[in-house]
């Protein structure tokens, strides 16, 4: 089998694209803990409906993602939800801004806040570097083998042709 460079490059591209896809989708859930208070500043207790929205910038109007959590239990002002559990969360690991609206209306809606990935997210760059090096090395090697194969095949054909001419 002869390996053509364009096939190898295409394969490499497919692999790199698939890693990009996997890399960008690693943040599938985000555990969010928040606090709610009533208009008189007293901690709220009860159940609330929360609509979460994620934005790229502090003042962006177009939300990148939204999800509603119904009947969330709030105890002494504290609640926690798993964002991404209803609508798939597809965020890369950079900063984002989270907004949420609360009903009932007597609960104070907190301002938009910045969220970041978990503490070890910077390590993703190491994973990405290692992955890229491995597959680039393998594909460069396959390309080199393919090139050598074609060179040998051409040389062999030329020599066989020469041998036939001499015999004739």
């Amino acid at each position: 089998m002869t390996i053509k460079p364009q096939h190898a490059v295409l394969t490499l591209l497919v692999l790199l694209l698939s890693i990009s896809a996997g890399y960008s989708q690693t943040a599938r859930y985000y555990h969010f803990e928040g606090a709610l208070s009533k208009k008189d500043n007293a901690p709220f207790s009860g159940t609330v409906d929360l609509e979460f929205k994620i934005y790229k910038t502090p003042r962006a109007e177009q939300a990148e993602w939204r999800e509603t959590h119904r009947a969330v239990a709030v105890e002494n002002g504290k609640f926690s939800v798993m964002l991404g559990s209803h609508t798939p969360l597809k965020l890369s690991f950079y900063e984002y801004y989270l907004d949420f609206t609360v009903s009932p209306e007597d609960v104070v809606t907190p301002p938009r806040r910045m969220i970041v990935g978990s503490g070890y997210n910077y390590r993703l760059w190491f994973l990405f570097a290692a992955y890229t090096i491995v597959w680039l090395a393998i594909f460069c090697y396959v390309l080199i083998l393919g090139k050598k194969q074609r060179k040998i095949s051409t040389e062999l054909n030329a020599l066989r042709h020469e041998a036939q001419e001499i015999s004739a």
């Binding site: 089998m1 497919v14 996997g22 997210n121 290692a130 491995v134 083998l145 194969q149 066989r160």
Partner: protein, 242 residues
Amino acid sequence: MPDKTRSVWAFLTGAAVFCAMLVNLYLIFQFAPTENSMGHVQRIFYFHVPSAWVAFLSFFVVFVCSVMYLIKRDRKYDIIASSSSEIGVIFATLVLITGPIWARPVWNTWWEWSPRLTLFLVLWFIYLAYLMLRNFVDGEERRARFSAVFGIAGFMNVPLVYMSIRLWRDIHPSPVIAGGEGSGLHPDMRAVFFFSLFTFTLLYFWLLGLRIKIEKGQISILDIKRALSLKREELTEGKVEI
């Protein structure tokens, strides 16, 4: 095996390697659970360890073929050993690159002169020297004989590398497969790891097939060149006689 059947097999193996790689990527980045203490960077494990496995497998093939060559003096064993050593060195290089990349965020250092790491580096140098030896020694039979002896002696380091984390205190983690009590992997991680091993093994055999074909091609070129030069000499002598 006829050439056409061989080409079909090579194509099928190549296609299988490609499909297995894609599935492997999906499993590594989407299916395998995230490790608690290291986070996503632990996913380097799924190609760091299989690369080491392929390197060991390659050097084992070099060892077996070297022994077979010394017993039978058949050139095909030398061809396989030569091809396998090259692939082994490439995968050992990948181990030496991905290891420090993994170590930096986890151990907070790129390199430690621990027994496992040092012995693996020595192993890499041994097989690099093996490849250099093949380039520097003249005479096919002589080169094959020297390389076979070197290939056998060099392999002695492989069990030492494997056992080093069991024999001495080492910064390198203990084995997670067959590592005894307290070791082990989450079932999903184990499944992904074994699939990764399978994919890399398949990749090794595919690369070995390609490399052997090249080696055989180079030998055929030399043989034809020799035959042609003899033929030319015969023709020249014929002309002189006339």
